[in-house]
Every structure is written in structure tokens, then in C-alpha cells.
């Protein structure tokens, strides 16, 4: 294989279809979640350490900045999980055609947006 074959992956010159947009966001959300895992572990640690720590956590969760960080992690988790379920359904042969893939991407995006809003309602 020639290693100097021409490649065009300049995103700014390519019109991304919906399937590509949900795919790149799935990647980005995955990278973000690896860092977000620290937030989830911190929540678990603070909630289980002691009764005082549990109550202190409830108080810190009323701070707007902490609410936003927790919501951002939950929103990313919701998006990544919904797109993951889409992958599993496609592995089972559902929505594998071009049209099916596009419809699946829109449906998954709609479900993710609803869950992200619900996560916001839950946190606030």
C-alpha cells in the first residue's frame, strides 16, 4: 500500500450528513465521559463516606456550578448511551440501510435530546 496516497479529511470542506454528525458526537461524548467518570466516582465517594459527607454532598449539589457539571456529565452519558443502543440495534440488523441509518440517527438524536432535558429537570 502506498503511504503517500492523497487524503481529504478536511472537515470544513465536507458536508457532513446527520449520520456523521451523530457519530462524531458519539466519539466526543465518549472522550468527555472518560473525564466525567471522575465526577461520578466523586459523587459516589462523597455519598458513601459518612452521614456528614452525604449531607454535605446534598448541600453542595444545590450550588449552580456543581449542578451544571453534574448535568453536563449526565447529559453526555445519556447521549452516549442512546447512540450506543443505536449501535447495538444496528448490530442486530435494524436500520442498516442508508435510509434506515438516517432515520435511526434522527430518532436517536430526538431520544437523546428528551433525556438531556429530563436530566436537567432532575438536577434543577
Amino acid at each position: 500500500m502506498k503511504s503517500n496516497r492523497p487524503v481529504n479529511l478536511d472537515i470544513s470542506t465536507i458536508k457532513l450528513p446527520i449520520t456523521a454528525i451523530v457519530s462524531i458526537l458519539h466519539r466526543l461524548s465518549g472522550v468527555f465521559l472518560f473525564a466525567g467518570t471522575a465526577v461520578l466516582l466523586w459523587l459516589l465517594a462523597a455519598s458513601l463516606r459518612s452521614e456528614e459527607s452525604f449531607i454535605a454532598l446534598q448541600e453542595s449539589l444545590s450550588a449552580p456550578l456543581i449542578k451544571f457539571v453534574v448535568w453536563a456529565v449526565l447529559a453526555t452519558l445519556a447521549y452516549h448511551a442512546v447512540m450506543g443502543v443505536r449501535h447495538l440495534l444496528m448490530d442486530c440488523g435494524l436500520g442498516e440501510s442508508l435510509k434506515g441509518g438516517r432515520i435511526g440517527a434522527w430518532v436517536a438524536l430526538a431520544v437523546a435530546v428528551v433525556l438531556i432535558i429530563l436530566a436537567g429537570v432532575w438536577v434543577w
Binding site: V7, V31, L41, L44, A45, L48, E51, A81
Partner: protein
């Protein structure tokens, strides 16, 4: 450039399967925790602590933690081998990627030890 040497299972098919099995485990755990919290509003510490002192909850948590690490390694390997390449980063790409993967490994081990401390320290 050979990239498989730093993949999770040294086999694309194996990584593909681990990615899906770990995803199902994490999804099940997420639903379990979210619904437990939704169904128990205004929960006290004692109830939460009792939940996590049960062996099956600790095992479920540990399985999820191991799944996070395997899943993240496979996913981030795919991202790093796509972007930290010689075409995009020049001749230092492999060194950059190995440094990034060592950092990821350190974070993954930290998460594992931290998580075990949390669930077995209560």
C-alpha cells in the same frame, strides 16, 4: 504503522465484542442507579449505605467499573489511532500516542483503585 499492539485484546473482533458486552453492563447499572434514585426521593444516608453494603451491589459496581476501563481503553484507542497518526501529527505521532496511552492507563488504574476503595471502604 502497526497499532494493534496497544489495542485492548490484540484482536479487532475481540475488542468489538468486549465493547458491546461492557456497554450492556454499564447501561444496566446506569438504569439501576437512576431508577433507584427516582423511586426513592429524599433518601436518607442509612438506606443508601445499606444498598451499597450488599455484596451483589458491590459486585455489580465492580463489574461496571471494569467495563468502564475496558470500554474506555477500546474507544480511546480507536480515537488515538485515528488522530495521532503520522499523516496528522508528523514523525512524532507514535511517541505522542504512546505517551497519551500511558496517561490513559494511569487514569484507568486510578479509577479502578478509587472505585474499589469506595465500595469496600464503607
Amino acid at each position: 504503522m502497526v497499532t494493534a499492539v496497544t489495542s485492548f485484546g490484540r484482536s479487532g473482533l475481540y475488542d468489538w465484542l468486549v465493547q458491546r458486552v461492557s456497554a450492556v453492563a454499564m447501561a444496566a447499572y446506569t438504569l439501576f442507579i437512576v431508577f433507584y434514585l427516582l423511586l426513592n426521593p429524599g433518601m436518607e444516608y442509612a438506606q443508601w449505605q445499606t444498598l451499597f453494603s450488599q455484596l451483589w451491589v458491590r459486585i455489580f459496581t465492580l463489574i461496571t467499573l471494569v467495563s468502564v476501563i475496558a470500554h474506555a481503553w477500546i474507544g480511546l484507542w480507536a480515537v488515538l489511532t485515528d488522530y495521532l497518526t503520522e499523516r496528522m501529527m508528523g514523525s512524532k505521532a507514535v511517541v505522542l500516542r504512546l505517551i497519551a496511552q500511558v496517561i490513559l492507563a494511569v487514569v484507568a488504574v486510578t479509577y479502578a483503585v478509587w472505585g474499589i476503595e469506595i465500595i469496600w471502604g464503607i
